[in-house]
């Protein structure tokens, strides 16, 4: 069995695209998720309802459908996006929905007394959120957020169905041209695993750093 059925350049190329999709979508999804979280805990009902509806739609439908809908469906409305931006858009919307839930859970876990202590010294809502509540909420939410990052890395493989040449698609085409499917997919799997193991180690280091105040 020759695990090098995949040529190194094509493997690295696929890996680069996979990492690009995962990292960019996670970064944009975090920003989006943060904004959605603010909307969900807002005093304005309309914002809360809109945010909850968004979360519900993107968590309640398959990512594959979302990816195909954006890529094949938007052109019907006259919006044509190339495969990679299209995949990043969908993955961002999808990740944002989950991340906002993780973050909201973190914020709700912070004791009400913390808001009151901040408020009682005259802090504005925004300042109390930024200085007092968010640092604690992010710490609580980090394991869930890290898990979400790992899932997102794997979810990028679905972008292969809209012709994005990422790791899974590279493996697939290498397999079909050489009929060495086992080697090709095992190799791709190993690369995913290596990426995610690295992420998990990074997450552990981060958690330990943030937990220092609490031991």
């Amino acid at each position: 069995m020759d695990l090098l059925t995949l040529s190194l350049p094509s493997l690295l190329g696929g890996l680069a695209v996979t990492v690009l999709l995962g990292v960019v979508s996670f970064a944009l999804g975090s920003v989006l998720g943060g904004l959605v979280t603010l909307a969900r805990i807002s005093r304005h009902r309309a914002l809360r309802v809109a945010a909850a509806a968004y979360v519900s739609v993107f968590r309640g439908t398959p990512l594959l459908i979302q990816i195909m809908l954006v890529y094949f469906g938007l052109p019907q409305l006259g919006i044509q996006l190339p495969p990679i931006p299209s995949a990043i858009l969908t993955l961002t919307l999808y990740a944002g929905a989950y991340l906002s839930e993780n973050l909201r859970g973190g914020i709700l876990s912070v004791d009400r007394g913390q808001w009151e202590a901040a408020g009682s010294m005259g802090m504005t809502y925004g300042r109390a959120l930024r200085r007092v509540v968010l640092p604690q909420a992010v710490r609580v939410a980090t394991p869930a957020i890290g898990g979400r990052f790992v899932s997102l890395m794997k979810d990028t493989s679905l972008a292969s169905v809209i012709t994005v040449v990422e790791l899974t698609r590279v493996a697939e085409s290498a397999g079909s041209s050489s009929f060495r499917y086992v080697e090709a997919f095992v190799m791709a799997g190993i690369v995913y695993w290596l990426v995610n193991t690295t992420l998990s180690v990074g997450q552990e280091v981060l958690e330990r750093r943030m937990g220092r105040a609490y031991t």
Partner: protein, 266 residues
């Protein structure tokens, strides 16, 4: 000599759903005065205290802190009103029963957070003042410890330093020792006595009778949403005017056991 009024609360009403927690409460606190609020649980003590810095908004009445008045019968919204409320909160520090230190900040960071982010003081100045305050409550060596490493009494003393760092006109204490073991409570009470001797204006909810006798200028006794009587401590503890206060004090004596050298009186 006319004394400055630190807090003037007029006609405070507050209900939570069906429950009427405050029914027309008036309370005036002068600068330099220590007022102790006592009363059975559910009498509205904590709600009153939280209304004084508008952590809880009364349904009716007004709160004046050093000349700034929030009228709770008028409109509830607006930037100016929010700013006024923040201003009042900046001038009234609060020490909570449940040790609400910020767990992700060290003792010193807890103390300097308000001065830096609310009062906009330069960091170096805030640090210097913060270190002085921590020394004042006997915790100079704990400046870099996180709250998780401090005992309950130490946490509460950091909370007092944090309150002082705002240079408030008045400090509100909500049962600051009731979550602590007696010996840890004692160190907190001592810190509060020091503040009283220093001339700090304080409103304190507590069940510590010996402490109240020693420190209070006035005891306000609350029951069922009213202040039933306001007396000097020696009058209140020896000869309360209302039957409810008499019953309350008898109950306190029963549960704590009579203080040494004092026979239970009927």
């Amino acid at each position: 000599m006319t004394r400055t009024v630190a807090i003037d609360a007029r006609g405070l009403h507050k209900r939570f759903g069906e429950l009427e927690v405050l029914r027309s409460v008036d309370l005036t606190v002068h600068s330099g005065e220590v007022v102790v609020i006592m009363g059975p649980s559910g009498s509205g003590k904590t709600t009153l205290l939280r209304c004084l810095n508008l952590l809880e908004e009364p349904d009716a009445g007004s709160v004046t802190v050093h000349g700034r008045t929030v009228d709770c019968s008028s409109a509830r919204h607006g930037r100016a009103r929010n700013r006024l409320i923040r201003d009042i909160r900046t001038r009234t520090a609060m020490v909570f029963q449940h040790l609400n230190l910020f767990p992700h900040m060290t003792a010193l960071e807890n103390v300097i957070e308000g001065p830096i982010s609310v009062r906009r003081l330069p960091r170096s100045y805030a640090v210097e003042a913060g270190e002085r305050l921590l020394a004042h409550v006997g915790l100079a060596d704990k400046r870099d410890e996180y709250p998780a490493r401090l005992s309950g009494g130490q946490k509460q003393r950091v909370a007092i330093a944090r309150a002082l760092a705002m240079e408030p006109e008045v400090i509100l204490f909500d049962e600051p020792t009731s979550a602590l073991d007696p010996e840890l409570g004692a160190e907190v009470l001592q810190t509060m006595k020091d503040l009283a001797a220093y001339g700090m204006t304080m409103v304190i909810i507590t069940h510590e009778i010996a402490f109240a006798r020693e420190v209070a200028d006035r005891v306000a006794f609350m029951d069922a949403g009213y202040i039933l009587e306001e007396q000097r401590p020696n009058v209140f503890f020896n000869n309360p005017a209302t039957p409810r206060a008499r019953a309350f004090l008898r109950l306190m004596a029963d549960t704590d056991g009579p203080p040494p050298g004092l026979e239970k009186t009927g």
